[in-house]
Each structure stands twice: as structure tokens, then as C-alpha cells.
């Protein structure tokens, strides 16, 4: 039986008197890619932020590797160092080069010596295909490249699980593919991931499990096949139909273009 990395039980978040989500329970096994879908404003992003304690949940418990991290007095910084987070708008450190963006966590959090941190950071940049951009500042990189550096920054910490908060929503359509390709590779490498996204092609292809959230609750969860072809609830079917209509066409075009795009970028290197 695979090891459970993350376990969330009855998590509830209230913001300014409104329930963002209520009694969310789910678990993520080692090597799993769990994709969370749902209309905007249903608390998907907030759920990710609660998981790595950037936002305090108002109820419920979270375990990482069997250790409860929501206990009072638990070292939050320590927890976050073990959970990778990728944001919708990249949030790279603007005053640092790509390399320093990736290595700063290694030197300042893990206290690695400078040379070791550099080497490891370079390795992570290689992994996302950006070794040749190590000396560039975020302002000199495209959105897709920035997001790949952000992924490398999170990977450098050797996280137990990676959280992706709509990682391609802020990208121009032609840049989405290169980011998804990096994420696909991560999944193949066995990284445990929790992904909030509207990219249904990615979900269908990579997810072991999909979770459909709406109005602050989990409506349905199951394999991509279950949700796409045998949804139990009409709401799931409706949402998936809408989102596929909206993103589907563009996506098939993109994935064709992107395979070229990524290999092209690497060829430049």
C-alpha cells in the first residue's frame, strides 16, 4: 500500500464571516497527482494555502508524513520548507537572478554552503530546461520561463509534496505548454502533487485522482475517467462540459504547438 503523504480532515476556513470551505477531507498518497477543479471562488486556492499554512484554517487538521502540522506551536517555517508551492503569478524574487531565486532557499533556509547551493540550484534549473537562463533576472524572462524558475525554486527544497495554484492561468496561451510539460515530467518522476487547474487535457493525462469542488465543498472525486465519462453528479458533468468547451479547443492546438516550442527552446540552449 502506498504511503500517505498528506492527509486533510474536516478542514474549514471562514473569511470575514463567510464560509470559504467547510469540512474538506482528502488524502494524497506518495507519487500521486491530485487535480482539483471547480468554478472560481470555491476555495481551491485557499485550500492550498491552508495546506502549507500560509493561511490558518479555522477548523480541522492536516497531517504531513503522519505528523499533525496544524497543532498549536508546530514550527510553520519548517513545514513550509517541506511543501513546495507554485503560484498563479509566479512571484519570483525580482531582485535576484534565476539562479539566486532557486538557491536562496538552500542558503538561507537549509543553510547549505554557497557552492553546494549553487550546484543544486543549477541542477534544478536544468530540470526545468532553463540552465542557459541562470543569470537572467525575472524581468528578462517570459512568463513561461518565470513559472519554470518558480517550479525549480520549489523543487530545490526537496519537498515532500508540490502544490500548484493555477500555474498556467496567468500565462499567454503559447507559453502554457512549456510549463505543463515540466509538470508532466515531474509526475513521471514520481513527485507527489496537488494541482488546482483548468487545464483538462493535463488533468486527464496526468492525474491519478480528480477532485471537483464547488461552493466550499467536495462534490465528487475519482479517477479522471470516472469524472469525465461517468460523473455521478449532474453538476460535475455540467462544469466539465463547460470548461472543456472553453479550454478544450485552445488546448489541443497548444499542445501540438508546445511540443515544438519546448524542444525549440532547449535547442537554443
Amino acid at each position: 500500500m502506498p504511503k500517505t503523504i498528506l492527509e486533510v480532515k474536516n478542514l474549514t476556513k471562514i473569511y470575514a464571516g463567510n464560509i470559504v470551505f467547510k469540512d474538506i477531507s482528502l488524502s494524497v498518497d506518495e507519487g500521486d497527482t491530485v487535480v482539483i477543479i471547480g468554478p472560481s471562488g470555491t476555495g481551491k486556492s485557499t485550500l492550498l494555502r491552508c495546506v502549507n499554512l500560509l493561511t490558518r484554517a479555522d477548523g480541522g487538521q492536516i497531517w504531513l508524513d503522519g505528523v499533525e502540522i496544524t497543532k498549536a506551536g508546530h514550527n510553520e517555517d519548517e513545514v513550509r520548507a517541506h511543501i513546495g508551492m507554485v503560484f498563479q503569478n509566479f512571484l519570483l524574487f525580482n531582485h535576484l537572478t534565476a539562479l539566486d531565486n532557486v538557491s536562496i532557499g538552500l542558503t538561507r533556509v537549509k543553510h547549505l554552503p554557497k557552492e553546494g547551493a549553487r550546484e543544486k540550484a543549477m541542477h534544478e534549473l536544468q530540470r526545468v530546461g532553463l540552465a542557459d537562463r541562470a543569470g537572467h533576472y525575472p524581468g528578462q524572462l517570459s512568463g513561461g520561463q518565470q513559472q519554470r524558475v518558480a517550479i525549480a525554486r520549489a523543487l530545490a527544497m526537496d519537498p515532500r509534496i508540490m502544490l500548484f495554484d493555477e500555474p498556467t492561468s496567468a500565462l499567454d496561451p503559447e507559453l502554457i505548454g512549456e510549463v505543463l510539460e515540466v509538470m508532466r515530467q515531474l509526475a513521471r518522476d514520481g513527485m507527489t502533487m496537488m494541482v488546482v487547474t483548468h487545464e483538462m487535457g493535463f488533468a486527464r493525462e496526468v492525474a491519478n485522482r480528480m477532485v471537483f469542488m464547488e461552493k466550499g465543498g467536495i462534490v465528487e472525486e475519482g479517477s479522471p475517467e470516472d469524472l469525465f465519462y461517468r460523473p455521478r453528479f449532474p453538476r460535475t458533468r455540467e462544469f466539465l462540459w463547460k470548461i472543456t468547451e472553453l479550454y478544450g479547443k485552445k488546448e489541443t492546438q497548444d499542445s501540438a504547438k508546445n511540443t515544438e516550442g519546448t524542444s525549440g527552446a532547449e535547442g537554443e540552449a
Binding site: 513550509r80 524574487f93 533556509v109
Partner: protein, 226 residues
């Protein structure tokens, strides 16, 4: 014209001495103000209730009253409380305290402009709040603040002239003495104006250099994007 040049030549040593004191007041005031300003700005943005309240009180008090009143309170007022300070120390203190209040607001603005996102990204890789402020927020805020903050050294350099009123031997005090000796107030004060102008010009060149040095490709007030 040559007469005026001759006069300028005679007055030059005194002017140089005075300028040196003026620069001293500027540098010490600016440095002290920077430390005070940075602490106040951090207190206002990240502090709890009491630090925030303290910072607001300090800033409002020193921005809301004339620097001359502050100087007189320190030099003539404090002895009444048993604290007697030298002319120079009083002038340093007045300049530093006053400048700090202004610098606090410049710095606060640039810290706020960096935004919560950078804090969140820092925390997300396991940095503490303090580490994120130190390694992520401040290096960016201090770069971003330079263009606006550049007003402060220039304005401070000129406002050090009030130290003349407690007889600190700065440029203005020297000028007053020379004007009295030569019976030529117009020439003297014109010459002093030129000296101030030269110092301000040099200072603003220095600040432009600093701004260029601190520049990061793609990192500007507007271009930070995303």
C-alpha cells in the same frame, strides 16, 4: 566682475570650512534619519499595535512641526530638563530626528509597493517573516525607494542652514560673518547660494549614480508586473 572674483577668493577658505560643517550635518542627519526612518517604516508596516502607534506618533510629531522649533527645543529646551547638549550634537539630533520622519514615509511607501506576494513567496520556501523582510522585501524596497528618496538628501542639505540660529559654524554662519565684515550682503549671499548650488549638484549626481548602480533589469516601479 574681477572684483567679485577677488572677493570670492578671499572668502573661499571660510566658505570651505563652513561647507564641511554643512556636509557633516547632512551626512550625520541623513544616516541617523535613515536608521530611524527604516525602523519606523518597518514598525508601521509589520509591527504590532504599540510599535505602530509609536512610529505614527514620531512621524506625525516631527513632520508636523518646523525643524527650527525642534532645534530650539533640543538646544534651549532640553537643558531645562537637565540635558545639556553641545551645539553640534543638538544640530545633528534635530536634523536626524526630522529627516527620519520623512524617510520613514518614503520607505513605507516602497515597502508597501513590493506587496504581499513577495512575502508569501518567501514564506512558502520556509523563510521566517524576519528573513523574508531582510533578504527579499528590503533589498527590493531599498532599490525602489531611491528616486523618491533622492529628494531627502537635497532638502536636508539645504535645511541644515537653520543650524546657523544656534551658532553652529556651518556655511550660513560663515556667510553671515563675511557679510558683516565686507558690508556686501548681496555679493556674500549670492556666493553662498552658488556654493549651496554646487553641493546640491554634486549630491544629485551622486544620487543618480546610486540609482543606476542599484538598477535591476526589468525591475522598475511600473515594470514589476505579474
Amino acid at each position: 566682475m574681477s572684483e567679485w572674483l577677488q572677493f570670492f577668493q578671499r572668502a573661499l577658505p571660510a566658505f570651505l570650512q563652513g561647507s564641511l560643517v554643512t556636509l557633516q550635518l547632512t551626512v550625520v542627519g541623513l544616516s541617523m534619519g535613515f536608521v530611524l526612518g527604516l525602523l519606523s517604516a518597518l514598525a508601521r508596516v509589520y509591527g504590532g499595535k504599540w510599535p505602530r502607534w509609536l512610529a505614527v506618533g514620531y512621524i506625525e510629531l516631527f513632520r508636523g512641526t518646523p525643524v527650527l522649533v525642534q532645534l530650539f527645543l533640543i538646544y534651549f529646551g532640553l537643558p531645562g530638563l537637565g540635558i545639556t547638549l553641545s551645539r553640534m550634537t543638538s544640530a545633528y539630533l534635530a536634523m536626524g530626528l526630522n529627516s527620519g520622519a520623512y524617510q520613514a514615509e518614503y520607505l513605507r511607501g516602497s515597502i508597501l509597493a513590493i506587496g504581499d506576494g513577495q512575502m508569501m513567496a518567501g514564506r512558502a520556501i520556509g523563510m521566517s517573516r524576519f528573513k523574508t523582510i531582510w533578504y527579499i522585501i528590503l533589498p527590493q524596497a531599498l532599490r525602489l525607494v531611491i528616486p523618491a528618496w533622492s529628494n531627502e538628501p537635497i532638502s536636508l542639505l539645504k535645511s541644515t542652514a537653520v543650524a546657523f540660529l544656534i551658532a553652529v559654524p556651518d556655511l550660513m554662519t560663515k556667510a553671515k560673518a563675511i557679510a558683516a565684515q565686507t558690508y556686501d550682503p548681496i555679493g556674500t549671499y549670492l556666493a553662498v547660494a552658488v556654493v549651496y548650488l554646487v553641493m546640491v549638484f554634486a549630491l544629485s549626481e551622486l544620487l543618480k549614480f546610486l540609482e543606476r548602480r542599484a538598477r535591476i533589469p526589468g525591475f522598475e516601479m511600473e515594470g514589476r508586473g505579474a
